[in-house]
C-alpha cells in the first residue's frame, strides 16, 4: 500500500492506494472516530451490489452503528432532490456533528456525498472510497458539488475529506467506458505537468483492458501526485488549479448538450483535450505529434470527433455558461508545450472555426 499526503491550506489528509486498502479504513476509523455516534455510507445502486458488503463487513469491527443511503447511478445522483433526500435521511438517522459520512463510489457519489457532508450541520467528517479510475482525480482536492439544469457542478463548495481509500480491487469490475473516463484525466494530468509521464503513458498503455497492477499503481500514484501538488499550491482555484481544467471547457459543454450521463465525463474531456491541443497548435505553436496522439487514443477506444455539426452554437453557449468564465470571452487552458499550460482567451469566431476541425467527416 502506498500513501500520498495531500496538503492544502485548510487541511492535510492521506490518500491510501493499494489492494485491500478498505481494511485500513477500519483502523483509521477506530483511530480517529472511536466516539462517533454513527457512520452513514452513501453509495449508488450498482456499487452497492458490488462492494457495499465488503465495506460493511470491514466496518463491523468498529462496533459503530452504520446506515446506508443508496443514490441513483452517475450524474443522476447529483440532483437537488437527491441532495435533499440524503440530508433528510441523515436527520432521520439522527446523525450529529460527530458522525462520519463515507462516499463509496465514483465521482458522482463522491461529489454529492461530499456536498452533503460539507453542509450537514455546517460540516461533518467525510471519507472517500473511490471505486472508479475517474475518482482518483475527483476524490482528491475537495471539490464537491451538485448540478443545476443550467450547468454542471454549479452548486457546491471546497470541502476536503479526512482521508481517501483507493482500493485497486474495486476497479476490477469497471466496464471499458469507465476505464476510458478515468484514463482521460490521467492523460490530462500528464499533459499539463509531466512530459516524461506523458511519454510513459504513450509507450506503455496500449490497451485499457489488461493493465498490470504495476502499471495501474504507477498511473494512479503519479496522477494523484500531480493533482496534489497543484491543489497544495491553489486549493480554491484562484490560480494554477485552473490548469486541471484542460479539456474541460468543451468537455463540460458536450456533457451538457448531450445530457449528463449519456456520455462519460472523461470521454467528453478527451474530446475537449483534442480541441485544446488543436487550439494550442494554432495559437501557441505547440510542437506536438497530433496524429500519433489521436491514433493512440482511438486505439484505446475513444471517439475523437464530434458527431453533430449543427450544434456548434449550442456548444458555444454552454461554454459561456461555464463557471470558470468571468467575462463574455471564453478562456481555455492551452499548452505551450507538454508540461507547460497557460490560460488563453479565445474569440468566439476562432472557437467556432476550430470546432469545425472536430466534426466527423470534415
Amino acid at each position: 500500500m502506498e500513501t500520498i499526503e495531500i496538503k492544502t491550506p485548510s487541511k492535510s489528509y492521506p490518500v491510501f492506494i493499494g489492494r485491500n486498502t478498505v481494511r485500513s479504513l477500519t483502523d483509521f476509523i477506530i483511530g480517529h472516530y472511536r466516539l462517533t455516534g454513527k457512520i452513514m455510507i452513501i453509495t449508488d445502486e450498482k456499487v452497492a451490489g458490488l462492494h457495499l458488503h465488503t465495506v460493511k463487513e470491514s466496518l463491523s469491527q468498529t462496533n459503530i452503528p452504520i446506515c446506508e443511503y443508496i443514490v441513483p447511478e452517475g450524474e443522476h445522483a447529483k440532483s437537488f432532490d437527491v441532495f435533499y433526500q440524503c440530508q433528510s435521511f441523515a436527520l432521520s438517522e439522527n446523525l450529529n456533528r460527530k458522525s462520519v459520512i463515507i462516499a463509496l463510489g465514483g465521482g458522482a457519489v463522491g461529489d454529492v456525498a461530499g456536498f452533503v457532508a460539507a453542509t450537514f450541520m455546517r460540516g461533518i467528517p467525510f471519507l472517500q472510497i473511490p471505486t472508479t479510475l475517474l475518482a482518483h482525480d475527483s476524490a482528491v482536492g475537495g471539490k464537491v458539488a451538485i448540478n443545476h439544469p443550467q450547468g454542471k457542478n454549479m452548486i457546491g463548495v471546497f470541502y476536503q475529506p479526512e482521508a481517501v481509500f483507493f482500493d485497486l480491487d474495486f476497479l476490477r469490475t469497471l466496464p471499458p467506458k469507465e476505464w476510458r473516463s478515468g484514463f482521460a484525466e490521467v492523460v490530462k494530468e500528464a499533459l499539463i505537468q509531466d512530459s516524461d509521464f506523458y511519454n510513459w503513458l504513450l509507450s506503455s498503455i496500449g490497451n485499457l483492458n489488461d493493465l498490470t497492477e504495476e502499471k495501474l499503481m504507477h498511473m494512479i500514484k503519479r496522477g494523484i501526485e500531480i493533482k496534489a501538488a497543484i491543489v497544495a499550491e491553489d486549493e480554491k482555484e484562484t490560480g494554477v488549479r485552473a490548469y486541471l481544467n484542460l479539456g474541460h471547457t468543451l468537455g463540460h459543454a458536450i456533457e451538457g448538450l448531450l445530457g449528463y450521463g449519456s456520455i462519460s465525463h472523461g470521454e467528453a474531456v478527451m474530446t475537449g483535450t483534442i480541441f485544446a491541443l488543436h487550439l494550442s497548435q494554432r495559437r501557441l505553436g505547440l510542437d506536438f505529434d497530433m496524429q500519433r496522439f489521436i491514433s493512440w487514443i482511438h486505439t484505446l477506444g475513444y471517439e475523437t470527433t464530434i458527431d453533430r455539426d449543427d450544434k456548434k452554437s449550442e456548444l458555444l453557449s454552454f461554454m459561456k455558461r461555464d463557471k470558470k468564465n468571468v467575462s463574455n470571452i471564453i478562456t481555455f487552458v492551452l499548452l505551450q508545450k507538454v508540461g507547460h499550460p497557460q490560460m488563453e482567451d479565445i474569440p468566439d469566431s476562432e472557437i467556432l472555426d476550430s470546432l469545425s476541425l472536430m466534426y466527423s467527416g470534415k
Copy 2:
C-alpha cells in the same frame, strides 16, 4: 461611523456601524470589485419596500449592473425551494465567480443569501447589510444556513462575508417585536462575557422604543465586539463559540414547536435564557437576581413563561435533535456567574422537571 475588524482564521473583514454607512458600501465596492460583472441583491418583500431604493441609488454610482431577487419574509426565506430559486436566478442573470451577492435584510435574508453565495460556483463574494437589531449577531461570524423541516439551520456552512454595513437608520422602521428579538442576543452576549455590560443594560435600557443613538451604538458595538472575540478564537464552533448558544437550546425547540416564524427568534431565545438561568442556579449555584431580571425583561415586553404545559416531551425531543447535541444527553450552556459560561449535560428528568418552572400559572 465606527469600524470593528473581525479576525477569523479563514478571513478578516470590517463591520461598519453608524448612520448612512450604506454610502460607504459604494466606496467599498469600487475599491474592491471594480471589475465585477454584476451585483445581485437578495432581500425580502418588506425590506425591499423600505430600503432597496436607497441601496440601489447608492450602488448606481459604481456603474456595475445590479439585479435583485426578493425572497419571502422571515424564516420562510430559508427553505430549500427559495435556496434553489436564488441559485436559478443567479444563473439566469449570468452571475460568475467575480460577481458579488449582497444580503439586504434581517437574519433570515443573511442566512439564505450567505448560503447561496457560499455555494454558487463553490463560493463568490458576499456582503451583508443587516436591517434588524437581531442581525448585529447573525451578520457577524459566518454562520449561514437554511432550514429543514426536521430542524432549524440544519443545512449550511461557515462562510464569512467580505464586509458588513450596519446602518442605524435602517433600524428605525423596526416593529417592537423585532427590537425584542435583537435585544435578546445583546443580553445573551452580556451574560456570557461581560458583567459590566450586563449591569449597564439592566440600569440603562428600560424601554426598547426610544433608545438614543448613543445607547444603540454602544449596545451594538459591544455586542459585536464580544461576538468577534469569540469567533476569532473558535470560528467553526469546536469550543468556546458554543457559549453563544446560551438560551438557544430551548429557544430553537420553542421555535420548532410553534413553527418557525410564529415567534421571533430572539423572543424564543429569551425564554430559553430564563430556563438556562434557572438551571444555572440549580446546578451551579449561580448567584443571580432572577426576580429583577424577569421583572426587567417583562417590562421590555417579553413573555417570560411558556404557554403549553402539555408540550414538555415535544420540547425535549426537539432539543435532542438540536445539531449541537452529539449524544442522547442534552448539553446546555449555563453560567457559573455572569460572564463565566460553561457546558453542562443535563439528564432528561431534570430538564422536564425544570421546564415545569417555566409554565404560566405554576
